[in-house]
């Protein structure tokens, strides 16, 4: 079983590498989102797409076991969105991204978001060729999640604490959450947002905008 799994991961890495080269060659910043189910990935993404759209050419791929609900929700932001339905598979794999992008012209995209299946375990092991992986943690889930799911926090580049409008109602201990994130991934940048009230969204969008500028400068050089 371990041997087979190793081979699957190796194949995945090969495809992910090719995807990453393609994103870089076309100047597209690929950003993936991982979290547990219900942490607010789709709401955060809908808000992000809507706010970035006036300035950048954005699009999204969204993974789920079943239903096209998320694609329908994201379509309200009026940017290109495609649903990837994984059936019983608990994570996205690079080959699914490659397949979903087959007829897309990345040269016309500044930022491609990839929303993974809601799962704090398995997506950690699968490189999707993304430049940035954001791990979302909602205030309602408990501050201990980084300690309990260290691999996915370790595999991510930034953390986003979501639903902070509910922080008081759930007695969220921000200090403990931060300490737990830093214990697992020292130095990790952490954003706090509410996609409902827009609190903190500016900082998060500025971060994405800076990452995109950096990407363009590298291309020019």
């Amino acid at each position: 079983m371990l041997e087979v799994r190793k081979n699957v991961l190796k194949q995945n890495d090969v495809i992910a590498r090719a995807l990453r080269d393609r994103f870089r060659a076309q100047g597209t910043l690929a950003v993936s989102l991982v979290s547990s189910p219900g942490a607010g990935k789709t709401t955060f993404l809908e808000k992000t797409l809507t706010l970035l759209k006036p300035r950048f050419r954005v699009a999204a791929l969204v993974g789920d076991l079943a239903t096209e609900n998320d694609a329908l929700r994201l379509a309200r932001s009026e940017v290109p969105v495609r649903q990837i339905t994984t059936g019983t598979l608990c994570h996205l794999e690079a080959a699914m991204i490659e397949h979903a992008l087959e007829d897309w012209n990345l040269g016309q995209l500044d930022v491609l978001f990839i929303e993974n299946v809601g799962n704090l375990v398995c997506p950690a092991s699968y490189d999707l060729g993304e430049d940035l992986r954001m791990v979302l943690l909602s205030v309602t889930e408990g501050e201990d999640k980084p300690l309990k799911y260290p691999t996915i926090f370790n595999s991510a580049d930034v953390a986003v604490i979501t639903k902070i409008d509910l922080a008081a109602a759930v007695e969220f201990d921000e200090r403990a959450a931060n300490a737990n994130i830093q214990a697992v991934r020292p130095g990790m940048q952490v954003f706090k947002v509410s996609a409902k009230t827009n609190e903190g969204m500016d900082d998060c969008l500025q971060f994405l905008s800076d990452a995109l500028t950096e990407r363009s400068q590298k291309m020019t050089v």
Copy 2:
């Protein structure tokens, strides 16, 4: 990969069957809990153990990738608790339960709770020999989760909607949640609880108590 996975599942089923026979022979009711991370399994279980303890001999096994936090929390209820640390594995398997119970005398237990790893996908496929599988869904996760993770709702016997003290704050649509549960698993019994305020806990405990009585009657016959 599929072939290997099939064999793993087949082996798991053999061990789960043996466990189920053992639970029945000893008169122990085995109840597993599945949910996404942060849905409140441990808080619900701590409350349940504390409330059942005066009337029944109860114990718990609790699965997590890392940390012994949950076992420490559950130990406050002063019943036997054992942590199963799965490493990078995203679910419990029957063999882990068998191993964890090796030196336990089930004859001295009325109810054994098994808290699975927080994950709405993979645990669905692994029979743990339990008599009852409870799927927990917190009001903060969104009403669409049954539709998005149909397999796990289908594999469960009852659903428990948790954190209902937060229902108003998150504008939880109970009717939609119920409709989605019934769409995936028609006729499924649904409990609504708050382990914080105790609301709804009585009904849920009565249900477990009835299940245990039924088990004892079957044994006597």
